[in-house]
Point group: C2
Chain length 118, copies 2
DNA sequence: CCAACATACAACCAGTCGGTTGTACGTTGT
DNA sequence: ACAACGTACAACCGACTGGTTGTATGTTGG
């Protein structure tokens, strides 16, 4: 009933936050948001194998946070700012719930002591 | 050098996004942002053991997204909206990098034709 | 042409994750 | 007092993660 089940949006959110939950991936995302980079160029920046970086890029791509385009033998990765914004919107929605609590507490105060409003 | 190493902020970010990368935890966070709930009350909402929900709450607590206060035999959990906001700020900073790319492209256009500076 | 480069992908491994059950301990109501 | 409740925590398990190496395939420059 109230179980958070199989929602499409929740699936996307799982992928988003999982992709962002690794500092190397966040760093890669920063770079490709600032400008296009080939996978091997990215790989040179990190103390791990090319294959490892390739996998990180793949995770970001599957989450829709980055897109790749093939040019010759290189795969150029580019950050998708719209997806990043969507994640931000999710957080904003979370905040909205908190604001709802405030207004409910407000109502409590209203019924609590004598209202100063006369 | 350019490696994203041992930063305090990155550690926190790891915890934040990891905590948010599970739909049950996001759902719990929604509830405790909307108002205080005991762990057992939360547990009744999900099709899993009490211990499992307890662990999810612990993950959110460790990430600083929620705080617990003891009242009698109950542990009341409450969402920390400031932490949620901090996560949002991180995303906004990411967006800023993208805007930087634009302005740099702008500079490219500027240097393309006759340079303004002599 | 061919060596070097860039990518893709599979197989493997240790560690972590999300779930379980079981046990223990403080609190509360009757 | 004591049974029921709420919590805490440890041990365990299968699945997945983040890393590795190795191999195959396409691209490019000399």
């Amino acid at each position: 009933m109230t179980h958070p089940e199989g929602s499409e949006a929740e699936d996307r959110a799982d992928a988003w936050f999982h992709a962002l939950a690794d500092r190397t991936r966040r760093d890669i995302l920063r770079r490709v948001l600032a400008g296009e980079h080939s996978v091997s160029t990215l790989a040179k920046s990190y103390d791990m194998s090319f294959a490892a970086v390739q996998k990180h890029v793949a995770v970001l791509e599957r989450a829709g946070l980055l897109t790749k385009r093939r040019q010759g033998r290189e795969a150029l990765a580019s950050g998708d700012v719209e997806a990043v914004r969507s994640v931000g919107v999710m957080l904003t929605d979370l905040e909205a719930l908190w604001r709802g609590r405030i207004s409910r507490m407000d109502e409590l105060f209203a019924t609590d002591t004598t209202t100063e409003k006369d």
